[in-house]
Subunit: 650 residues, 2 copies
């Protein structure tokens, strides 16, 4: 088979590949890491590279302008190598890559109404064993069990082969004076069963020495880890980091597609494990804890994240009728999958409800106490999957609506995540100004803007709507061309320029096009349609909802007024909205500390009725009605009508 | 540090090693496999090599004659490299190495009085699942569990992460028609608990298709595997092979020493696993079974073999007060240690009693039905460890006596295992012959002799004693020098020549020296002292023993008459002796098939009273008394007195 030479700028050694190889694979061979946020589907345009010598066959050039193509730009995931080439990976890609390792600085709140008399499954027991003698030749393991039984009454306890291998030396190291850590299942009556040895320490450890656990939230975008002292319940350290899987797909569907490719399953598992292990190293260092002393971990994530974390194929989640392999994963030990804590530590992945309502939502319901309150409540996780729960302590219904990642900055040409350089809030001058279409904006981290993040997009779209830059269908008003240079026909159709090249970090203009707005509309329409259909399905008028609990780290940045103005949130008194931050990690934390909470998550998962929105046309109709700004039924948004009257230029 | 070049004849690439490196380590580096039957203690002389250029510093030259040393011979495990050398690994070592991969042809008998209405823990269940639909989105694992519950009533069942990873694809492969195999713990009342999924097969398997298990005996010398149809109880195939650990030590003590060295633990575990996996491949091929269909394995071995098989350090077994890490190892799955069958298969290592009375003995007691009989019985496992059990269904006492490997051909200069070329039986002409000191012998495999195996050594020693070649102290009668060329002063002291160089395969003479006889005497004295002290400790005269049950594959080759004549077995009517063959694998087979037998092994292990022989001087005194031929107390051996009178020359 014919082979070709591929040279990547800045990489010393050219690679040789056979005819027909995808450019992205050649990059992989050469050790060049090109992000594929859409999972290699040719959708996102983020893997664009420039061919400076030779040519490639382009299967698709979506997201590239004819000028881009003329300049040699090509999508690495869609370009077939059929001759020798030289490739430059452009700076924007390098920025994109760097982004995925940026630290996020999300502050998360620890539940404060937490009952400190918790029922912890981990316990630590000091034991003085009688050393063996010629007339007492009991084997080591029986000797340990006897001492444990005498001290605690535990009749039976399991030990792993790995711990058994180390036991003999540890028993002898400190002259048969040891401390053991055990874990167990706690029954509803508080009794312990399935007792299991987790650690043998060659020392008599003081009672108040800490022993640690982890609460882990695996988000599609962000992973959060809390290091918890299991004796006091105190959160000793917390850290967050982008999920290392991002460069292989920005939403769960892209990840599932990537995971179905050769080696994809393993790669995604390793990527999220790497992220978590880095976070564990951070929190351990900060709290001066040894990873070996972390003996338990509770994990909440959406169903896809949980499957990928455990290495379980998630392909059936993507295909009709959308089935998970498992909603209540079995307990495993950390060593089984290579989590960087005590290898005997139990990893408890909390239970989910369905393919698109996972453990992050059951944990969220636990954390927001929705299952305990008499108030009719709506819990929204405003993220890629747009999960919604409606109910109270009497009943709970839930759905998910596939909002897409637009609010997280993906699927929008100048979109980005909420890190340094992101426009997070935006204002357009409006009727009373001399220059009514001129914007001002606020940027995260006091730097020049690099793009627009989710809250910035909500804010921008609301302002564009209020000032008439877009109509209620979301189309940019081309009659303004001539009145303002901000509105024009751009490369990708009609667009509004938010920042001129002279203002931005890269020197490139930051604008928003009809295509981008369409993606944003789809996201907000899906979420709105989700909770309205959910309410409708149980015959509850939306106005009856007494509190709207908004979870997800994204939830903290939403400006309620703007979100209502675009029709993402319902038009209700603002005091009904509560922003709770990362409810997923909060729920994991509660379940980690107390088996009564752990049992409640299970109850929540089994009691929640899952409504599959694609089962009939109801959702689709509601979705189409919500594709307007703020909504086809403008009467549902009285506050918006007033705002438009106030600010509209025309 | 200074480095030297070491060239091994026949190995292309010389190795470079620092001053002070042991020659055996250099050989290891060069990929030259030199056996170390004594574990590198310089005791056995089997690692002798010839230095043809340069010199080494010899820490010890035990087993080497001054002539050997003059010719450059050196023990690889005792030679320190201090300059450039060239080394020849002599042919006898190559023979020794080849021996360890010879097949043994041991016939083993399947228990015939076996109850066919057995209580098997493995069961296979065909299931027709309802495929998921949009209005039935139960997760795969819950769907499977529900179908299983409906068919069998099993409320709870566990699944491993690995099986969970494969489950989704298997369920869909044959349109939700599957067969599952489950394993469980069977309680005394016959009920099942801890039900666990072992396999999911994408097919409706016919009821009478076989499903397999393995009964495995891990002997210090020989490993035996039976492939068993778990539904019919039939042994479909059996195979035996030398334990691959032999080249790293011939007795358990040498193995433990080797395992304590860097990497030794892993190497010994891998070696025995390699042996077992080869045997599994053999029996599977012969029975046309897929290793994947082998879903359970029961293992019997002495305590050291069990520890090394599981990778558990055995060092405390060797050191006073001689403690095992574990007598009842936990159940593990095959995948955990890399046994080549279904990775989810349970591996059940049967329980032992003490460091030197392991599961091979409890399995042996089970197989010989000693715990069921009213007859006072003596069970002997005539092997390296010389385990003995005395008792009946009322009580059982046991001891082990460290006989050493002399009867297995080790520790004797011309000793070898019972394979082709071994002298297995020997006669000396005696009083009525013209040439009273001339021997005749029988060789295994109709070839020229290469050495003498255990039964040959017993036979030879008995004949030498009867004819007066050795006295009752076991010393060769040097007054015969001159009367016969067979008796002479040799390189290693007084010796008797069994075969002249012209008769043997190698052209080297085969003889036996005072040193060899001393090792044989120690072995037989230890075994004899073991059972006499055991009988004494419970106040039972030996004559009261109604049956002597002899287990171990070695037991099949002993000529009772000769064994009595050297004082290895007590002088009793021959009809009291029963040779049972490999009782260890027979016991493993019973426990594999039937949980009632499995429970009995546990009872046997917990009811057996272990007598530690080194606890006082009783054993030592008995041992010293038994160091004569046949014994200090000749009155205990009336049949021997008669035989001596009949055959003695003087």
């Amino acid at each position: 088979m014919t082979e070709h030479t591929v040279i990547f700028d800045g990489v010393k050694k050219p690679v040789r590949v056979p005819t027909g190889t995808l450019l992205i694979e050649a990059a992989h061979l050469a050790g060049v890491d090109i992000g594929q946020p859409c999972g290699g589907q040719g959708r996102c345009g983020r893997c664009a590279v420039q061919i400076t010598q030779g040519t490639v066959r382009r299967r698709s050039s979506l997201r590239l302008s004819p000028e881009d193509v003329a300049q040699g730009f090509a999508l690495a995931c869609q370009s077939v190598i059929e001759g020798d080439i030289t490739v430059t990976v452009p700076p924007q890609e390098k920025i994109e890559r760097r982004l995925t390792t940026d630290r996020t600085a999300i502050e998360v709140s620890v539940p404060t109404d937490y009952d400190p008399s918790f029922s912890q499954s981990i316990r630590r027991i000091s034991l003085l064993l009688n050393p063996p003698r010629m007339d007492d030749q009991t084997d080591d393991w029986s000797r340990l069990r006897t001492a444990l039984r005498q001290k605690t009454g535990v009749e039976d306890i399991q030990i792993s082969l790995n711990l058994l291998k180390k036991m003999g030396a540890v028993l002898r190291e400190n002259n048969w004076q040891i401390t053991v850590i055990t874990d167990a299942r706690i029954e509803l009556d508080g009794s312990r069963s399935d007792e299991r040895l987790v650690a043998i320490i060659p020392d008599l450890v003081p009672e108040d020495d800490p022993v640690y656990g982890l609460a882990i939230d695996i988000g599609t975008t962000t992973v959060t880890v809390w290091l918890v002292d299991l004796i006091t319940g105190k959160v000793e350290a917390q850290a967050s980091e982008y999920n290392g899987q991002i460069s292989r797909g920005e939403d769960v569907i892209s990840r599932i597609i990537f995971s179905s490719k050769n080696g994809g399953q393993e790669e995604l598992q390793n990527r999220v494990l790497d992220t978590i292990n880095q976070l564990i190293a951070q929190v351990s260092k900060r709290a001066h804890a040894k990873p070996q002393d972390i003996v338990k971990a509770t994990v909440a994530g959406n169903s896809t994240m949980t499957h990928l974390f455990l290495g379980i194929p998630a392909s059936s989640i993507r295909l009709s009728p959308f089935i998970t392999a498992v909603n209540q994963p079995p307990l495993i030990t950390a060593g089984t999958i290579g989590l960087g804590i005590n290898p005997e530590a139990t990893i408890d992945c909390l239970p989910g409800v369905a393919s698109y309502v996972g453990a992050d939502i059951t944990a969220g319901v636990l954390a927001c106490r929705m299952d305990e309150t008499e108030k009719l409540s709506l819990f929204l996780d405003v993220g890629t999957n747009g999960e919604t729960v409606l109910g109270s302590r009497e009943w709970l219904v839930t759905c998910a609506c596939s909002a897409g990642p637009a609010f997280e900055g993906a699927g929008v040409l100048n979109g980005m995540r909420a890190t340094k350089g992101a426009i997070e809030e935006c204002w357009i001058a409006g009727a009373n100004s001399e220059h009514p279409y001129e914007p001002t904006y606020r940027v995260i981290g006091k730097s020049k803007p690099r793009g627009i993040c989710g809250s910035g997009l909500i804010s921008l779209l609301a302002e564009m709507f209020l000032t008439g830059v877009v109509d209620k269908g979301g189309m940019i008003n081309l009659s303004l061309v001539g009145s303002t240079p901000r509105v024009r026909e751009g490369e990708h159709g009609p667009e509004y320029v938010v920042a001129w090249g002279s203002e931005t970090e890269s020197g490139q203009e930051i604008s928003i096009s009809n295509v981008d707005i369409d993606n944003l509309k789809r996201a907000k329409a899906a979420i709105y349609a989700g909770f309205t259909v959910l309410a409708q399905s149980v015959g509850v008028p939306l106005e009856m909802v007494e509190q709207i609990l908004i979870g997800g780290s994204f939830g903290k940045y939403i400006n309620v007024e703007k979100a209502v103005q675009i029709g993402l949130l319902p038009d209700m008194p603002w005091d009904r909205f509560k922003f709770l931050g990362n409810t997923s990690v909060q729920g994991a934390y509660l379940a980690l500390l107390d088996w009564r909470y752990r049992d409640r998550v299970k109850d929540i998962a089994s009691q929640m009725t899952y409504i599959e929105l694609s089962a009939d046309n109801t959702f689709f109709d509601a979705f189409m009605s919500a594709m307007f700004l703020p909504h086809t039924d403008i009467n549902s948004f009285p506050s918006v009508t007033a705002a438009v009257e106030n600010k509209s230029v025309t």
